[in-house]
């Protein structure tokens, strides 16, 4: 996101020197280490959560999808071939779990659009940033799943087009097209925000204030 480096999917970014690399943790997991997968998850859970939460737009659904995805990854770890980074593989499983849920949900009558913003709602009242965020997230829900996943990863969470393409299993051009169509679709819904605060600023709103984390 703005003001922060985008998430790096490959390389040692964020992993302290002393800790084993992702691929080593996955190998240990496959060979029976009971804790290796948990370590791997702890290392990446915030990013995986962000992807699931913003793609699905509902914390309960995101928690369910993330759990399904992690159980699936836990069991299918032996199938990991090492032709992509472990994080890419984890992201792919999470995104696919989210897309499956969105498609199933699309086939059913829409339940109340669950509120992602339970979390944001804990911020002070009459917070214009929060109102803008509410509108943006509501607009995002109107996109088809494929556009939404691409736009969440690239525009919202700052993943590169190349990484997003690998995660989604499509070409970079397809990611760009999906993002472009998604932006065009959001445009009229966000037009009323053009005079709202937010855009001119360089730094993002205060991060995570009042969330569940210490």
């Amino acid at each position: 996101m703005a003001g922060q480096p985008g998430p790096a999917l490959s390389g040692p970014g964020g992993v302290p020197q002393a800790e084993p690399p992702d691929a080593e943790l996955l190998r240990r997991h496959v060979t029976g280490d009971a804790e290796a997968f948990g370590q791997l998850f702890v290392r990446h859970r915030d990013r995986l959560w962000a992807v699931a939460l913003r793609t699905l737009g509902d914390p309960d659904e995101a928690a369910d999808a993330l759990q399904d995805a992690m159980i699936s990854a836990f069991r299918r770890a032996a199938d990991f071939r090492g032709d992509s980074a472990v994080t890419t593989w984890l992201h792919r499983i999470v995104v696919n779990a989210c897309l499956d849920r969105m498609r199933r949900r699309a086939a059913r009558p829409v339940a109340s659009g669950g509120d992602d913003l339970d979390l944001l709602a804990r911020r002070p009242q009459a917070d214009p940033d929060r109102d803008v965020a509410l509108d943006v997230l509501a607009a995002l829900r109107t996109l088809v799943p494929e556009q939404r996943a691409a736009l969440v990863m690239v525009d919202m969470l700052g993943y590169s087009v190349a990484d997003t393409a690998e995660i989604l299993g499509v070409s970079p051009g397809t990611v760009k097209s999906r993002c472009a169509r998604g932006r065009a679709r959001l445009l009229p819904q966000l037009a009323h925000l053009r005079n709202q605060p937010g855009v001119p600023r360089v730094s993002p709103p205060a991060e995570g204030a009042g969330e569940d984390q210490p």
Binding site: A2, A34, G38, D60, I71, L119, V199, D212, Q213
Partner: protein, 286 residues
């Protein structure tokens, strides 16, 4: 090109995703059309807006739930290492899995995994939650679950059992005194009323053989909670652990016996929110 360029074409143009012919036409139009130039600028603002929505870290409740699910999965694997790989959890959601069941969560986030139901369905083996009750031993509903709930001592989870397990470890271990009673009373504990509220909870739940709403099998409780309780107990008997609230925030309320004291800790970090105070003695329904 007659009229203006539509927003989608402008967005695709900005991404270099139009054919050469259309690219040339859009470029030519943009150079002379202020309105389309404004639309193009507004499209970049959409990206900016999206990037400015705050991204929260994983809530501690969700992290604990995933922790518990992965712990259960590890224990399951350790108990049945030769079992055929279970199918990935695809397909429609299990109707038995509770939805919108706000355990320990004012914000609608659950602290506890619905791991039992998930595993029974997805794993195909009856790894059933057990180990509740004062005996601390499995009282499973079927032979299959009994065998998997008590891994043979040669398995990893048994080898590593012990009090020195670091927090956040990912296998269910019997490192909480057996018979620990985990409950979810839903109480919102307050600093001034802590001792009295604890006494009420004890009266309500510290009854041998009690089961039902509010009681939690130990296997539904995440490894980090178990470890936290063990760290705090330091060998003292654990009378009751209430996954409840303290000043409206999720909290672990730990009642140690001999003599009875109550301590409140933060679920995510196991740091103390309220240090130990004596629970008013008196006849407690047993």
């Amino acid at each position: 090109m007659s009229g203006h360029v539509d927003a989608e074409s402008l967005a695709l143009y900005a991404e270099g995703q139009l054919s050469r012919r259309r690219t040339a036409r859009v470029r030519a139009h943009l150079s002379g059309c202020a309105e389309c130039a404004r639309t193009a600028a507004a499209l970049t603002e959409v990206t900016t807006r999206l990037s400015q929505v705050p991204v929260p870290p994983i809530p501690s409740a969700v992290a604990a739930r995933l922790d518990a699910a992965l712990s259960a999965e590890s224990a399951h694997r350790a108990a049945a290492p030769d079992a055929a790989p279970a199918p990935a959890p695809a397909g429609p959601p299990d109707p038995r899995r509770p939805r919108r069941n706000p355990l320990w969560s004012p914000g609608g986030l659950r602290i506890l995994a619905a791991t039992g139901a998930t595993l029974v369905v997805a794993g195909g083996v009856g790894y059933v939650l057990s180990q509740s009750g004062s005996s601390g031993q499995a009282s499973s509903g079927s032979a299959a679950s009994a065998s998997s709930a008590q891994p043979k001592p040669t398995h990893r989870s048994a080898i590593k059992a012990g009090p020195n397990v670091p927090p956040g470890s990912h296998a269910i271990r019997p490192n909480t005194p057996s018979g620990t009673r985990y409950v979810q009373s839903g109480t919102d504990y307050r600093p001034g009323a802590l001792a009295g509220q604890t006494k009420n909870t004890l009266a309500q739940y510290d009854v041998p053989g009690l089961s039902g709403p509010g009681m939690l099998p130990a296997t539904r409780v995440s490894a980090s909670v178990h470890n936290c309780v063990s760290q705090l107990a330091l060998g003292r008997p654990v009378r009751l652990v209430d996954l409840a609230y303290y000043q409206q925030q999720p909290a672990i309320v730990i009642v140690l016996g001999d003599p009875d004291t109550v301590t409140v800790v933060k679920p995510s970090s196991c740091t103390k929110l309220h240090s130990a105070v004596a629970v008013t003695s008196g006849p407690v329904t047993r």
